[in-house]
């Protein structure tokens, strides 16, 4: 899966979880930038990616994420 494809898929998942079709994501984005990004959406976001990419995240991995970029780096590690 190439970079663009991953990003497209990630964006779609974000749009679905946040229920916002126009949402775009950037690497520096953090949870505090998005009003409706709370613990529930956070966990849904994680699991939605797990299901879409057929991977598993570890609890300690996800508690250390600082921004979207960290998440994408972790995601790519898992896929490869």
């Amino acid at each position: 899966m190439d970079n663009n494809e991953i990003m497209r898929k990630v964006t779609t998942i974000f749009q679905e979880v946040f229920d916002d079709d126009e949402m775009s994501i950037s690497p520096e984005m953090t949870a505090s930038d998005v009003d409706s990004w709370d613990s529930l959406t956070h966990i849904r976001l994680i699991i939605s990616h797990e299901l879409a990419f057929n991977i598993r995240f570890d609890t300690t991995e996800i508690s250390e994420l600082e921004n979207v970029n960290d998440f994408i780096v972790l995601l790519k590690q898992k896929i490869s």
């Binding site: 229920d19 409706s36 709370d38 613990s39 966990i43 849904r44 699991i47 299901l51 995240f57 609890t59």
Partner: protein, 519 residues
Amino acid sequence: MLFNSYAFILVFLPITLIGYYSIAGKQNLKLSALWLVSASLFFYGWWNPLYLLLIVFSISCNYLIGNFLSTLDKGNMKKYSLIMGVFVNLSLLGYYKYANFFVDNLNEVINTNFHLETIILPLAISFFTFQQIAYLVDVYKGDVREHGFLQYCLFVTFFPQLIAGPIVHHKEMMPQFLKKLSYKLSYKNLAIGLTIFSIGLFKKVVIADNISLYVGPVFSTAEVAGYISFFDAWRASLAYTLQLYFDFSGYSDMAIGLARMFSIRLPMNFNSPYKANSIIDFWRRWHITLTRFLTTYVYLPISLPLTRYSMMNNFGNKIQFVHSIAIPVLITFLLSGLWHGAGWTFIVWGLLHGCYIVINNLWRQFHKSYFRNFKSVYFLGGFTSRLVTFLAVVLSFVLFRAESIFGAKVILDAMFGGNGLSLQIGTAEGILALAAWSMSSGTVLIIILIGVVFFAPNTQQIMIRYQPALEVNNIEIKALYKNLFQWKPNYKWALFTLIILFISMLSLANVSEFLYYNF
């Protein structure tokens, strides 16, 4: 040894600092670490030398388990070893902290008459247990590079954070302990550390200890079902809410300040919790390192698999909410309550906060589905939300302070007007009595302090230019604070530190313990 004692401030601290910097000047990391570990163990043993054995046993066990874990490859063996390690830690904590509680309740429920000597809770056991569990998990994940037994001892026993936190992670402390720069005498760090320490000491001995005078009598009356008026019940609960904050955040400040004198930064533990706009926000500001621990090691491990299960089976939103939030939050807060103390009051306190958080989350979901693209979740308005949050916290702390559920009920009853308003507002005597009550020194002090916790900048905000703690980058600094309340190394602030330190030292004569020593 208490931070707020002459022995600590005038003897232990100066000797430890002088010894440290004269050894450290030679850039000998091993020797400096040995000095700090010895000083810390002395500090711990001052309270009860016997329990030195316990802490040394716990440290050695965890170090060995950690080493063993790091030799294993990922797999079931490694997993079971981790579980064993966590189990050893929890059993030790369980025995010392909960055995009495368990036996008492067992006797009550099934009418037996087991007798267990009262076990004295070893100082700091709740804190070093958690810290070492986190360490084992980090080793399991391969996040930790081991640096020898001495460094590990330093990580656990470092006296500023040994007794009551902040609860630190191996990976945020070790790099600092290993950095040569930490061992160089720095007047800047000494000055910053002393200022933070002095602010903390002032919070504890001048504010918290004085306000406790308005707490104790009312709570004692409640236990024997004495009469408590509406106003007295509120005053005592508000006073306790303030006492607990100034006591514990004062302690955390002292810990952060002391560590800074050794050029070590501890993580921030309080960020003006009573300015929180919601209960969720409150727990991000109150005892931050505990919330961090519970989120990572309790909440997420429960929530993640449940949510996974829920989403894979395409359950509806309601069931998903129960799986992702309600169940994990209630369990986490139940355990948080138990961690704070082995008693029913703490269990109910924990569950109450769990319910608060669930309601807060429900409210958010409801709000999200009705007001799409909302700008703020606090549609009550910032200040009203803060007030409601504060009141919810005040009510919960009645349970935290009361010695029994019965006592808490008596106070809460009075707060909700169960004993009437007692002052006849219509009559002249009533108005006079109310006036006298509101002008009494206690009431005035409480009103002033509520103003302080609502509006004043906190220690980290005052010291922000000098990176007072780890992870302070995301705290907001209001424009007003920026001009008036920013610490700089000048005469004005030196005088400020001198004055608060002087007043605090004079108040030391009436030493009291920290509330969090018992947890």
